[in-house]
C-alpha cells in the first residue's frame, strides 16, 4: 500500500481515535472529579477493588449522569456537522449552514410553541422536530411555486421561510409568560445539553447514525454534483432525487439536534471546512470526517460548559465563540479551497 493511501486512511482513523480518547477523558470531568485510575477500573474490571458504595456512586456518576451527556454531545455535534457538509455539497457553496432552508428557525418556533402551550418535555421535543421539518417544507414549497428546483430559488425559499418562522418565534416570545415561559424559551434557544437523557438518546441515535451513513454513501455522487447539475446528469446521477434526498436527510439530522439540545448552529458551517482542510474535498471522506470532528468539537465545548464555572454555561454559547475562533484561525488555509 502506498504512503498516500496510508495517509488517506490515517486522516479518517486518527480523528475517531481522538474522539474516543476525548470521550474517556470527559468522563472524569465535572463537579465530582473522578481519577483516570477509577475510570479505567470501572470500565475494564467493573471496579473490582472498590467498596460497594464507591462502585455504586461511580456507576451513577459515570453511566447515568455523564455518559448520556457525552454521547449526546457527540451525536448532536456529529449530526449538525454532517448536515452542514451535506447542505454545502448540494448547494455547491462552502458558506451554507444547516439553517439555510429554515430548519433551525422552524425548530426553535416549534419548541417555543410547546413551551408556551405548557406541553410536556416530550411534546416540546416532538414539536421542535416537526417545526424544523415544516419550515424546510415551506422553504422548498416557496421555491417550487416558481416551478424550479434551482439552487437560487431554494436559497430564496429558505430566506422566506427563516424570516417567517423567526417572526413567529418573536410573536411567541411576546405572548409568553415573562416569569416562567420566556426564560425557558430563551434558555432553549441558547442551546444546552443539560436536558439530554437516555430516552432522548435512544430516540435520536439510530436516525442520526443512519443519516450519517446514508449521506456518506452518497459522497461520490455529491462530488459529481459539485461539477454542475447538467454534468452530473450526463454522468448518470439522478440529480433532483439526490438533491432533495440529501436535503430531507440533512434536515432531519438538524431538526433532531434542535429537538434535544436547542440551537447549536454554527458548528454545522465550520466543521466541514476543517474536514476539507484535512482530507481534501471528496465528500466520501468529508462527511464521515465531519461527523468525527463535529462530535469531538461539541464534546470539548460541553466539557468546558460544565467545568469552567460553578454555574453551567449554555454549550451553544461556547460552541459559537470557540467555533468562531477556530474558523477565523483556519480561514486563511481553508480559503485556498474556494475557486477564484
Amino acid at each position: 500500500m502506498s504512503l498516500r493511501s496510508w495517509c488517506g486512511r490515517l486522516v479518517l482513523v486518527l480523528p475517531a481515535v481522538l474522539l474516543a480518547g476525548l470521550a474517556i477523558v470527559s468522563l472524569g470531568i465535572g463537579r465530582y472529579p473522578v481519577g483516570f485510575g477509577d475510570i479505567a477500573s470501572v470500565l475494564l474490571d467493573n471496579g473490582a477493588g472498590m467498596t460497594v458504595e464507591r462502585r455504586a456512586l461511580l456507576h451513577t456518576i459515570l453511566f447515568q449522569t455523564r455518559l448520556p451527556r457525552i454521547a449526546g454531545a457527540i451525536i448532536v455535534g456529529a449530526a449538525l456537522s454532517v448536515s452542514g457538509a451535506g447542505y454545502q455539497a448540494v448547494f455547491r457553496n462552502p458558506l451554507v449552514s444547516p439553517g439555510l432552508l429554515g430548519v433551525l428557525a422552524g425548530a426553535g418556533f416549534g419548541a417555543a410553541l410547546g413551551i408556551v402551550g405548557n406541553a410536556g418535555a416530550t411534546a416540546v421535543h416532538v414539536l421542535s422536530f416537526l417545526g424544523g421539518g415544516l419550515a424546510v417544507a415551506v422553504g422548498v414549497g416557496v421555491a417550487r411555486l416558481f416551478d424550479s428546483a434551482s439552487i437560487l430559488m431554494l436559497v430564496f425559499g429558505g430566506l422566506v421561510s427563516s424570516a417567517l418562522f423567526t417572526a413567529l418565534l418573536s410573536l411567541l416570545k411576546y405572548v409568553a409568560d415573562p416569569e416562567q415561559q420566556l426564560p425557558d424559551i430563551v434558555f432553549w434557544l441558547l442551546g444546552s445539553l443539560t436536558q439530554v437523557d437516555m430516552p432522548d438518546l435512544m430516540a435520536i441515535s439510530v436516525p442520526v447514525l443512519g443519516g450519517i451513513v446514508l449521506l456518506s454513501l452518497c459522497g461520490r455522487m455529491l462530488d459529481a454534483l459539485a461539477m454542475g447539475d447538467d454534468e452530473a446528469r450526463t454522468m448518470g446521477v439522478p440529480v433532483s432525487t439526490l438533491r432533495y434526498g440529501v436535503i430531507v436527510v440533512a434536515t432531519i439530522l438538524s431538526a433532531l439536534t434542535v429537538s434535544v439540545a436547542g440551537m447549536i448552529g454554527w458548528i454545522g458551517l465550520m466543521v466541514p471546512h476543517v474536514a476539507r482542510l484535512l482530507a481534501g474535498p471528496r465528500n466520501a471522506r468529508v462527511l464521515p470526517l465531519s461527523a468525527c470532528l463535529g462530535g469531538a468539537f461539541l464534546l470539548l465545548c460541553d466539557d468546558l460548559a460544565r467545568s469552567v464555572s460553578a454555574e453551567e454555561i449554555p454549550v451553544g454559547l461556547i460552541a459559537d465563540v470557540l467555533g468562531v475562533a477556530v474558523f477565523v484561525s483556519v480561514l486563511r488555509l481553508v480559503r485556498r479551497g474556494w475557486a477564484a
Partner: protein, 240 residues
C-alpha cells in the same frame, strides 16, 4: 454505422419553436460540427442529444433505441458530455475529477476502486495529461481543464462525445492541440459532435458540418463542401 440520430425532432419553449423538424444521423468515426449564429438552436440540439431536454416532437435514437426510455446509467456509459472548462467551487484533484467518470459504471459506489483508478490513469495517459493528476482542477488553465474533462468522458467508457464550444477561452496552440486530439479520437472510432463558432476551422478539421439557422437544419454534409464562402455568409447573415 449510425450510433446517434435525430428523427423529425422539434422543441419549443413557452410556445416559441426553438428547433423544428431536425433529422440527422451520426456514425462512429465521424466528427461533426454544429454551426450557426447565436440562438439558432445549437445548444438545444446538444442538450437533446444528452437527454438534458426531451423532444416535443420526434425522437432521439441511440443505436436505434429511443433515448427517452433508456436508463440513466446506460446512457452515461454510451454518451459523454464535455462542457466548457468551468470553475469548480471545491478544490478537487484532476485524478478525482477524471475518476468521477466511473460513477455510472460502478453503480455509484462511494469508494474509488483500483479498477476505477486504473481507468482514470489510462484515460489521462491516452491524452498525455498524466502529469496533471495530482494538481488541483481549479488551478488549471482553460486548455488543461478541457483536456481533463475529455479524459473524464473517456473514463466514462462512452464512445460518443458531445462537446459544447470546446475552443472557448483557448489560445491558438491550445485549440490546435484540442482539435488534433478530437481528430485522433474520431479516427479511433469515437463519434465526436461539437458546437463551434469557428467555420474556418470546422471546414479544415471536422469530417462533417450541420448548419443550423433559425431552428432549422439549413445544410448538412462533408465539412469541406458545406462550408463554402456563400453558405457561411448566408448562415451568419454576414454578406447582407
Amino acid at each position: 454505422m449510425t450510433v446517434l440520430a435525430m428523427e423529425g425532432v422539434g422543441f419549443s419553449r413557452d410556445g416559441r419553436p426553438i428547433l423544428q423538424d431536425a433529422s440527422f444521423a451520426v456514425g462512429a468515426g465521424e466528427m461533426v460540427a454544429l454551426l450557426g449564429p447565436n440562438g439558432a438552436g445549437k445548444t438545444t440540439v446538444l442538450r437533446l442529444l444528452l437527454r438534458l431536454l426531451y423532444p416535443g416532437t420526434g425522437k432521439v435514437l441511440l443505436d436505434g433505441r429511443s433515448l427517452a426510455r433508456m436508463r440513466r446509467r446506460e446512457l452515461a456509459s454510451r454518451v459523454a458530455y464535455v462542457p466548457q472548462g468551468h470553475a469548480v467551487t471545491f478544490p478537487y484533484k484532476v485524478r478525482d475529477v477524471v475518476a468521477l467518470g466511473r460513477l455510472a459504471a460502478t453503480m455509484f459506489s462511494p469508494v474509488v476502486s483500483a479498477a476505477d483508478r486504473a481507468a482514470a490513469d489510462a484515460a489521462m495517459g491516452h491524452l498525455a495529461i498524466g502529469h496533471l493528476a495530482e494538481r488541483s482542477y481549479a488551478a488549471l488553465s482553460g486548455g488543461e481543464r478541457q483536456g481533463v474533462l475529455i479524459a473524464r468522458a473517456l473514463a466514462q467508457g462512452a464512445r460518443i462525445l458531445v462537446l459544447d464550444e470546446p475552443e472557448t477561452g483557448l489560445d491558438y496552440g491550445q485549440q490546435r492541440r484540442l482539435f488534433d486530439l478530437l481528430r485522433h479520437l474520431a479516427a479511433e472510432g469515437y463519434a465526436v459532435i461539437a458546437t463551434t463558432h469557428d467555420p474556418l476551422r470546422a471546414a479544415r478539421t471536422f469530417t462533417r458540418a450541420i448548419l443550423l439557422r433559425r431552428g432549422r437544419i439549413m445544410n448538412d454534409g462533408p465539412a469541406g463542401q458545406v462550408l463554402s464562402e456563400q453558405t457561411i455568409e448566408a448562415l451568419y447573415d454576414a454578406g447582407a
